[in-house]
């Protein structure tokens, strides 16, 4: 539905997509971000083949090698029962990315549809949806998630439910604002005059105009979901051992500070690395697709 011809931009001889990709490549930080995210995804997917000691992911015990400092054999050292921290970090990414997919896979479609509906129909639909969103936004997220997981008993699925319940609101707000801005555009009016159904206008006309904003938001969100999940686990209210989770590893490791610093700091840096990647990627996409959040 864009006015600019998708195939020819006279001055550069590039398609719009090539232009966007060109802008992305010219931005070194964005490329670094994309590479970091790629490396995290590869580690998570191929964990059993990449981890030097896959048995460390479970409740494996090797007391003879406990508290070993970083070395060539154990790049990030070993933990209090002799498991390889590096291997556990790789499996930890698996858990973190699983959480991201689970949360965003539900929260984003839900939030986007509510935002579309509220912005498009207006009236009392808008009032109810947006007021409800406001109330949900007024809940302190971490305290809420803590309360929910605590009452439901802490584990991966409940952490996922708790985060999802709070996450959709941001997408509703974002899409609502975009749709409000689009409602006066000619193409919406044209579709309506042409007799298009509500479903058509919502999902074939308005939604494509929101996709780039959603893409940027999802990329930035991914980092924050990882952070959120790790924070819950750090407090002991998220994923439970022996499942390797980065937040839990930091919490357990911090009992051995300052002498065995690697047990807390290495998983901590691993979290930082993943969040950094998603952040840089999100910023790069924002510049590339030229959206305002």
């Amino acid at each position: 539905m864009s006015v600019i011809d998708d195939h020819e931009t006279p001055d550069h001889g590039m398609t719009a997509r090539q232009m966007a990709f060109f802008r992305f490549r010219r931005n070194p930080l964005a490329v670094i971000g994309a590479l970091i995210v790629l490396s995290v995804v590869i580690m998570a997917v191929f964990a059993p083949w990449i981890a030097p000691s896959p048995e460390s992911a479970g409740s494996f015990v090797n007391f003879r090698n406990r508290h070993a400092p970083p070395s060539w054999d154990n790049l990030m050292g070993t933990d209090n029962v002799g498991r390889d921290v590096f291997s556990r970090v790789i499996y930890g990414y698996r858990v973190s990315l699983g959480l991201v997919v689970g949360v965003l896979g539900v929260a984003v479609p839900f939030g986007v549809i509510l935002g579309l509906v509220a912005g498009y129909f207006g009236g009392w639909t808008e009032t109810i949806v947006m007021r409800f969103t406001d109330i949900m936004l007024a809940l302190p997220p971490l305290a809420m998630a803590l309360a929910i997981t605590a009452v439901l008993s802490p584990n991966l699925v409940n952490a996922m439910i708790a985060i999802t319940l709070l996450w959709w609101t941001w997408h509703t707000r974002l899409i609502y604002r975009i749709v409000k801005g689009q409602m006066n555009e000619d193409y919406v009016e044209a579709a309506r005059v042409a007799g298009a159904s509500h479903m058509h206008i919502l999902f074939r006309e308005l939604l494509p105009n929101c996709i780039s904003a959603v893409a940027v938001k999802v990329s930035l969100d991914a980092g924050f979901v990882i952070l959120f999940g790790a924070s819950l686990s750090f407090l002991g209210l998220g994923i439970q051992p022996p499942t390797p989770d980065l937040g839990t590893m930091v919490a357990t490791g911090s009992e051995y500070l300052p002498e065995m610093w690697w047990q807390a700091i290495m998983p901590g840096l691993a979290i930082l690395y993943a969040i950094l990647g998603f952040n840089l990627l999100g910023d790069g996409l924002r510049d590339m697709l030229d959206v305002e959040l």
């Binding site: 808008e126 109330i135 971490l142 305290a143 009452v151």
Partner: protein, 340 residues
């Protein structure tokens, strides 16, 4: 302006009411009987029934909701099962510690992030800007608890200057009765040993808490300043021969401060939430520590109280920032009046 304030206050009340009802619903729809959870698996059926009656769990839902809401209106949050004191008293005891931490943090954020953001904009695309960009990025992406542990490790264990946990050294005998904030009460009482010790204890937790916001606000200040720099009035003021410093710090910053202030407001509101982590790491005796403890003990009344108090804080902080923006930028008042 008056109508604007009235509207905002009304919305605030509605949101608070919604919040209270929502929390009630969440607390009631969760599986499991709060009385049974609180007493643990060893309790007898009579004990459970007795506690159920005491907590009013056998009344109808509308009646429970009414009891709960009318209690709230009088500042009654029920009794904590953990400390067997009214939740309100527990919160009142823990709140000053958190407030002191949060206020100190927000002051740190404002005094660090806005000047640095202005600096990045003034020296844009030089090495200063690049260094500041990296600093702000690190601030944004470092998880609070990781930073907290690193700070403990480096500043406390190795340098040994900053205390790692708590609010005040055990050896100092002082009770803050006026405002509950050690820095203020210490100053009022002329106890400067208290003030310096409290400040030393505050330093690391507040850095851990402030970092993310500092990074974010720096970026936004920079963008806003650069955007304002291209406006005509800036050129005009320069043409009048007004010193560069005045143009930047007074004229440009006033216009550019709207965006960073909005973010600071949101940030301020979320600080109580983030304080959960930081208080946990530094054993800070605040409301978040109380919250984590009661959550682990499944002390439902106390949990509701903590969530509600942080929700109120969140909403009020947003309102305050809205009013401030209205003062700074009259257009914001008009927009807010028309909006939804």
């Amino acid at each position: 302006m008056f109508i604007y304030l009235f509207r905002r206050a009304l919305t605030l009340l509605l949101v608070l009411l919604g919040l209270a009802v929502l929390i009630f619903i969440i607390a009631r729809i969760v599986p499991g009987d709060p009385a049974r959870i609180a007493l643990g698996p060893m309790a007898t059926a009579e004990q459970v029934t007795e506690l159920q009656n005491e907590m009013g769990l056998n009344d109808s839902y509308p009646k429970q909701l009414w009891t709960y809401l009318s209690g709230l209106a009088q500042g009654d949050l029920g009794k904590s099962l953990l400390t067997s004191r009214p939740v309100m008293d527990d919160i009142r005891a823990a709140l000053p510690a958190t407030l002191e931490l949060v206020l100190f943090t927000i002051i740190l954020q404002i005094t660090v992030s806005i000047p640095l953001g202005v600096m990045a904009a003034v020296y844009r695309n030089t090495w200063v800007d690049n260094v500041l960009r990296v600093v702000s990025l690190i601030g944004v992406v470092t998880p609070g608890f990781v930073l907290a542990i690193m700070l403990q490790l480096v500043a406390a264990y190795y340098l040994g200057f900053f205390p790692i946990t708590g609010r005040l050294d055990g050896g100092i005998d002082f009770s803050a009765d006026v405002t509950g904030l050690l820095l203020i009460d210490g100053t009022l009482a002329g106890r400067f040993d208290v003030v310096t010790d409290a400040a030393r204890h505050l330093f690391l937790p507040s850095i851990a808490l402030a970092a993310a916001g500092i990074g974010q606000v720096m970026r936004i200040t920079r963008t806003a300043m650069i955007e304002v720099a291209s406006r005509d009035f800036v050129e005009a003021s320069r043409a009048y021969g007004i010193p560069e410093r005045v143009v930047t710090c007074r004229y440009m910053l006033r216009v550019a401060s709207v965006a960073p202030l909005t973010i600071l407001g949101l940030e301020f509101a979320s600080l109580i939430g983030n304080a959960f982590i930081v208080e946990f790491v530094f054993s800070w005796p605040g409301i978040a520590s109380y919250g984590v403890r009661t959550i682990l003990q499944k002390d439902l009344n106390a949990v509701i109280g903590v969530v509600l108090v942080s929700g109120v804080f969140f909403v009020v902080a947003n309102l305050a920032i809205d009013i401030l923006l209205g003062v700074l930028d009259p257009r914001h008042r008009l927009r807010a009046g028309r909006d939804t």
